[in-house]
Subunit: 458 residues, 2 copies
Amino acid sequence: MVEPQQDIPRWQELERLVDLGDVDQVRAFLKSIPLGETAYTLVRMEESKRTRLLELLPPEEAADLVESLSDAQAADLIEELPAERAAAIVEEMASDEQADVLAELKADDAEAILARMDPAEAEEVRRRARYPANTTGGIMITEYVAYPDHLRIDDVVCDLRLNAAKYSPYDLQNIYVVAGRTGQLRGIVRLRDLVLSPGSTALTAISLTDTQSVKVTDDLDRLEDFFDRTDLYTAPVVDEWNRLVGVVRRAHVQEALAERAGKTILRLSGIVTGEELRTMQIKTRMVRRLAFLVPNIGLNLISTSVIAIYEPILARVSALMIFLPILSDMCGCSGSQAVAVSLREMTLGLVKPAELMHVLSKEIRLGVINGLILGAALGTITWLMRGDTYPYLGLVVGGSMAINNVLAVCFGGSLPLVLKSFKIDPALAAGPVLTTVTDMGAFFFALTFAWLMLYLTT
Amino acid sequence: MVEPQQDIPRWQELERLVDLGDVDQVRAFLKSIPLGETAYTLVRMEESKRTRLLELLPPEEAADLVESLSDAQAADLIEELPAERAAAIVEEMASDEQADVLAELKADDAEAILARMDPAEAEEVRRRARYPANTTGGIMITEYVAYPDHLRIDDVVCDLRLNAAKYSPYDLQNIYVVAGRTGQLRGIVRLRDLVLSPGSTALTAISLTDTQSVKVTDDLDRLEDFFDRTDLYTAPVVDEWNRLVGVVRRAHVQEALAERAGKTILRLSGIVTGEELRTMQIKTRMVRRLAFLVPNIGLNLISTSVIAIYEPILARVSALMIFLPILSDMCGCSGSQAVAVSLREMTLGLVKPAELMHVLSKEIRLGVINGLILGAALGTITWLMRGDTYPYLGLVVGGSMAINNVLAVCFGGSLPLVLKSFKIDPALAAGPVLTTVTDMGAFFFALTFAWLMLYLTT
């Protein structure tokens, strides 16, 4: 996504225009920025100028700008603004974005903004905030069109045309058919069927009735499932009495899924307590990284306790000191490969948390084969390097590599399943737990074998 | 996604029905499987029965089944079939799926199938295969409706209704307006505008003309950009003469993006030469894992060479042997946090590969602060554990932790940018390169400081 550098970077030009304070020029320039570049331009601006920009624009346009950012960034920008102004902007945001952004703010900042919003809007946001993130309630939008089940196509088309202006911001991929009195969902009519059938047809005749709906409490996996099963662009959301309360867009679900995958990458790499962007305050970034690193000291002390026990052996076979780190790294890598495959298969729904035995049977064979290959390679290298002074070292290193590799892939492969069935996010805990175990294994086998060799040969 | 275990698992029931060979029963049972479960059920079946199943069903239904799987799995299934049958099934698949699945097959298997397909279809697949994966040409579908620019809404609606049956598999979110003679793209008409405007309106009056199109050669990031910028569900694809050649669905783009994120997770964890699923042959899985592990031996020998040099020092300060692995793990973790944040910021388009200095300035401060905190913690622990025998060890360990942490985050933060600007996939190379450097640093600083202390105190 590198683009030809212009002579003067966009954010500087934008800062200049903001200083001039001519809103039309600013508007025109913002339009000229390709949307993929907006976030980049904004984060590069001086904080004061960025604030100035959001105060210069009319709230609805500022809201568009904020919506073009990821939640974490959007929250960053909002936080810089006076609550009064922030409220005005948040009010203009789409119903599904408001809660997401406020959720990223400190509780009292969010409250300060809600307090200054139109009470009805604020109540709606609070209602959404009650749904855990990534549930249907949090993703759904409340802009949709529904008609009672006794109407015909012409009635609907006529109403749509009459209120074209009103409906233009709505999602019209589907219109929904509800029971006149109760408001319970009766069926879904795809806009295309509305066009493809004669006007006298009854809505009920062209509505899909077999398609299920999603519940307001359903989670992301359930939504993914729903859209896997149909070609619909939007899903009707019902409450526990099967009354239509909103719609979820396929696009929003896929965004949420991509977002989750992105977060998984961060978690796997030790950013565990929420997103980190380099635009955030250094204090936040510091705490978020230490949250993973500090506990990790403890895990390391556990794994190296094995070395402490065997210290005298190590002192006598000092060459091992070169190979212990190699063993621990190699087995760590083997293990995380198995972890990744399990995570992937769980995402694709190919394995269930209960199927430990299935995974083990698949991993153990591979672990043995690769263990032997890697063990042979590493053993030979060791023998070539240190065979003269420690004739047996090759066996010790190669042997521990082979055995610990089997342990690493079996443990790595099953760990995500176990964590999942204990409702722990595998991406969060798998890494550190894995390396602790594989390190202990590596140190234990190598040092025990070395001790045996010393014992047998002296 | 765990579901209540039935008394008999679905795949066994399906195997039973396949043995009975009653296609209607099989059909009915397949319908009863929630789509999220189909992949799981298929991979659990015995290979012979699975083949039998795909031969039992009419090709178009077998194709639906295959399309419900990820490309890698789909290819697995197709590979099990006789080429004749495989060709019949592939012919029935959606135009965008065919190339993806064949791409996963061994070249000669793919050829064998193409040779048995309808020549026109085969040519189309070959044409697509020429586009690199994840370019517009590979993702677009060729089922769309376009009308010459002199028509009115009524003409179009009338044509749509007349050919309702023919168009039903098509994507009708938008219809496209093209110049009568040249076939060049003139505009996009959203289905909703077709419904919301009176029938006498000219197509050109309701068509969006400002919206750009995408080129058949555009890559995934460009497509993501396009859909970020509009609310359209499909994008028109044009060739170099601006003639309409296909359409890309927002949903397909988002699937491709999610797929890419999934692959990134695998790459980061050392599955680098293509997806691994446990249903694949063990030989494939073995090779794919070793492709990462074997080179990794070399990198380890490089990093541990530092220890080899300092072996005599280590022999005299044997307690260091406990803390070297801790240092190397802690700094490795610090580094991969920085890698992850850079990857994330690049995905969100917040940093450009050229901006090394920007990243360094952000990482160095954090590196110093966290380095001091972690160094103090680790130094104290060391002193408490070994202060009696090695009074200076706390300083050695704490000091190296502090300094190497700065090195780790700076190197880790900039590595993805550097790799990217060399057109190397960061997810592929960042991990191993990082740990090699952080390990060398950890060993070098700790052992050098230890040597200094010995030198000063004796």
